[in-house]
């Protein structure tokens, strides 16, 4: 599903939509916090998920990086405010 140039045709495969990014983010959040009830939105922040403290944040970012096959750089880690911004960075990196 990750968007990439198709070597055979040279055309773009469908870019992962924002909805798909959120669907996959949702799975990662559920795994990391071991809670099947979680649903994340653009506005979700650490205040909305009880176990999401600064320590779990590290683990969450690592799991997101693994899921999307990308790495956040330090500037992004520092400035990211909510899940919406996280999704924007992901889309900009894999889009």
């Amino acid at each position: 599903m990750i968007c990439r140039e198709r070597p055979d045709s040279g055309t773009m495969e469908d870019v992962m939509s924002r909805e798909e990014v959120f669907a996959r983010l949702n799975d990662v959040f559920r795994d990391v916090f071991d809670d099947e009830e979680i649903t994340v939105t653009d506005a979700t922040t650490a205040d909305d998920i009880e176990e999401w403290d600064s320590l779990e944040h590290i683990n969450l970012l690592a799991a997101v990086e693994q899921e999307f096959g990308m790495k956040f750089n330090m500037g992004q880690v520092v400035s990211m405010k909510n899940v919406g911004e996280m999704a924007d960075i992901i889309i900009s990196k894999i889009g």
């Binding site: 795994d31 990391v32 590290i58 693994q66 330090m74 520092v78």
Partner: protein, 611 residues
């Protein structure tokens, strides 16, 4: 658990640690409970989180104390009621090169560098000494890993001002300390960082963002590595390698291809791989690992393969060779029986995933690592740390010989109709004495390893053992046994404390008791290695304990049996020794009394013991 066996998926472990922990706690109940203090020079949160999983997987349920961020030194050095109350069974000092407060300046003279080296070393040395004095428990200390950049380039290691030079010299000082302090173990993070890849390991993002000494993804491998030392200290090492033959110890099928067409030796690349692996297996013997064969083969073909002139292993390197057409799971159970050890002490090495699967399913507890392709066998086994060495002992090097002698004894026993005649023919000589410095390590090891013939299953560190030895309210006895086939080493341990009848209820609750010194001996520990079962060693130990009591005017001995999943064989032990059962509660804890008669008849009549 498969998720935690090497080679594992680190990212999955990090992501699903909560789920994995839940599963581990559901899967088994017989955990060894230990308290571990992690004193960090950097963040330790995720390290503890993952370390906990690996320990649970090895049967250790740890409670953790974590120092506040980078407070390792202060926590150890100054009054610390929280840590004192925690009373750790083990302290892990997690420091890294980020904790070296000063490196040499480029203008420093050799003497100044030397002084700085001493200063940095002393910072740690005083802390270790303090820990030893105050907490009396084993210590695991990281060495230092290399920095991620080299100011002096390739001269960084050769020039005295280089950080790599400084780290190497500082590490060497740590090792010198480790060589003379028996409860002090180095966790080699320098090797781990190299094996993982230093650039990835030392990714500065994790230091500057989170104050981690390594990248998050390296934490599972790091925690796995330190878990090996911890489980080895607490007696949870594996004991034996059970090896398949065809395509495991050589390329090809000996029964089909014939010995001459096997791939082993220097002629082909694949032959070289197998030769190197055989050499690796052979050297396991030197560290005390027992070697056995479990192979679907005609026995004569198996032996012929092992006699291949280009192989390193010989048939006589193995204690038991099971080569037949029975299921391997059945053979492995037999091997455990022959060696007198539990199946969970075995590591089954087979190239065939289906065989591994069957053995793992049929014989719970056996480790059957996914060894990959032949060129990966050594790395997978090595990194799995099944036989982590904490201290090399004479016993380790001779262990194979001792077990082989045992099997000879069993064979000989079958030729004797009269069991006592057989025992006499063994010409056994025992040494039974109060604990002596030479054997403290072995005694502590036994207290942590013995599960079956163990009345109370109390686990002790070497420091505990030394404390008992020095305290004259205790009667301590270790027993060594030699016979015509060889020396079994220290095989039995008894610890008794002089108290009063009023101590009994506390002992029945498995508590640690330190009441008034009286004329009753409470047996806090009685254990024996299963390799000397049915040799009357327990009678010889009893005699020695009784004589010690008589010397002190003690007339009553109280023994306790605390049931565990593994020690059913000694439920009635005190009854067999002539004790009278005076209580038993609904959890199965029983209490036994022995009144020493005026004319005590020695119970042992077959072992010659110097009195």
């Amino acid at each position: 658990m498969r998720e935690l066996e090497y080679p594992f998926d680190s990212e999955e472990i990090l992501k699903r640690s909560k789920k994995i922990k839940r599963k581990l706690l559901e899967e088994r109940a017989d955990f060894l409970d230990k308290k571990i203090a992690v004193l960090g020079g950097s963040t330790t949160h995720d390290i503890v989180r993952v370390l906990e999983l690996f320990l649970l997987d090895q049967g250790i349920r740890a409670a953790f104390y974590e120092s506040e961020y980078a407070q390792y030194w202060q926590d150890a050095m100054f009054d610390n009621p929280a840590l004192e109350e925690f009373a750790p069974d083990l302290i892990f000092v997690h420091t890294s090169n980020r904790n070296i407060s000063r490196f040499p300046g480029l203008g420093d003279s050799a003497e100044q560098v030397e002084e700085l080296l001493t200063e940095q070393y002393e910072h740690f040395r005083v802390m270790w000494d303090k820990i030893e004095e105050k907490y009396h428990c084993p210590v695991i200390q990281n060495n230092f890993e290399y920095p991620f950049y080299r100011l002096l380039g390739n001269q960084e290691a050769a020039d005295l001002h280089g950080r790599i030079s400084f780290i190497n010299r500082l590490n060497e000082k740590f090792y010198e300390y480790a060589r003379v302090h028996t409860h002090f173990y180095i966790n080699d993070i320098n090797y781990m960082a190299a094996a993982y890849g230093l650039d990835r390991w030392a990714d500065p993002l994790y230091w500057h963002m989170y104050k981690y000494a390594m990248c998050l993804q390296a934490i599972p491998e790091f925690a796995y590595n330190v878990s090996h030392i911890i489980k080895a200290v607490f007696g949870k090492n594996k004991k034996a390698l059970v090896l398949d033959l065809d395509n495991t110890l050589w390329g090809g099928i000996v029964g089909d291809d014939g010995v001459e067409r096997l791939e082993i030796g220097q002629e082909t690349p694949m032959g070289q791989v197998y030769a190197e692996f055989q050499g690796y297996v052979k050297s396991q013997k030197e560290i005390g690992v027992l070697l056995c064969v479990d192979s679907k083969n005609e026995k004569e073909n198996a032996i012929a393969g092992l006699q291949h002139p280009d192989g390193t292993l010989r048939p006589e390197d193995f204690i038991v060779i099971e080569a037949n057409w029975e299921p391997k799971s059945k053979n492995i159970v037999q091997i455990a029986k022959d060696l007198n050890i539990l199946p969970d002490s075995l590591v089954f090495v087979d190239d065939n995933p289906a065989e591994r699967e069957i053995v793992e399913r049929q014989v719970p507890g056996v480790a059957a690592p996914q060894i990959g392709s032949p060129e990966q066998y050594i790395r997978v086994l090595d990194r799995s740390g099944f036989f982590e060495v904490t201290r090399l002992s004479e016993d380790d090097r001779n262990r194979n010989e001792m077990y082989k002698a045992n099997i000879q004894r069993q064979r000989q026993a079958q030729d004797f109709g009269d069991y006592r005649a057989y025992l006499l023919s063994l010409q056994m000589q025992g040494t039974i004495k109060a604990f002596e410095p030479l054997y403290m390590a072995r005694i502590a090891q036994l207290s942590n390893k013995s599960n079956q013939f163990n009345l109370t299953t109390r686990r002790y560190t070497q420091t505990d053992i030394e404390t008992f030895a020095a305290d004259d309210t205790y009667i301590t006895r270790y027993g060594k046994l030699e016979d015509k086939f060889g020396d079994n080493g220290v095989v039995s341990v008894v610890i008794g404390r002089q108290g009063t009848m009023a101590d009994i209820p506390a002992y029945q609750k498995r508590e640690t008791v330190s009441g008034e010194r009286g004329d009753v001996l409470h047996l806090e520990l009685w254990l024996m290695s299963c390799r000397v079962l049915k040799r009357d060693m327990e009678y010889a130990m009893m005699d020695s304990v009784v004589w010690a009591c008589q010397d002190r005017g003690i007339h009553t001995i109280i023994g306790y049996y605390y049931p565990t999943a593994k020690n059913g064989m000694v439920r009635e032990f005190y009854g067999q020794m002539g004790f009278e059962k005076i209580a038993e509660d609904d959890t199965g804890v029983s209490t036994w009394r022995y009144s020493i008669p005026d004319e005590y008849q020695p119970k042992n009549t077959v072992i010659e013991v110097a009195k």
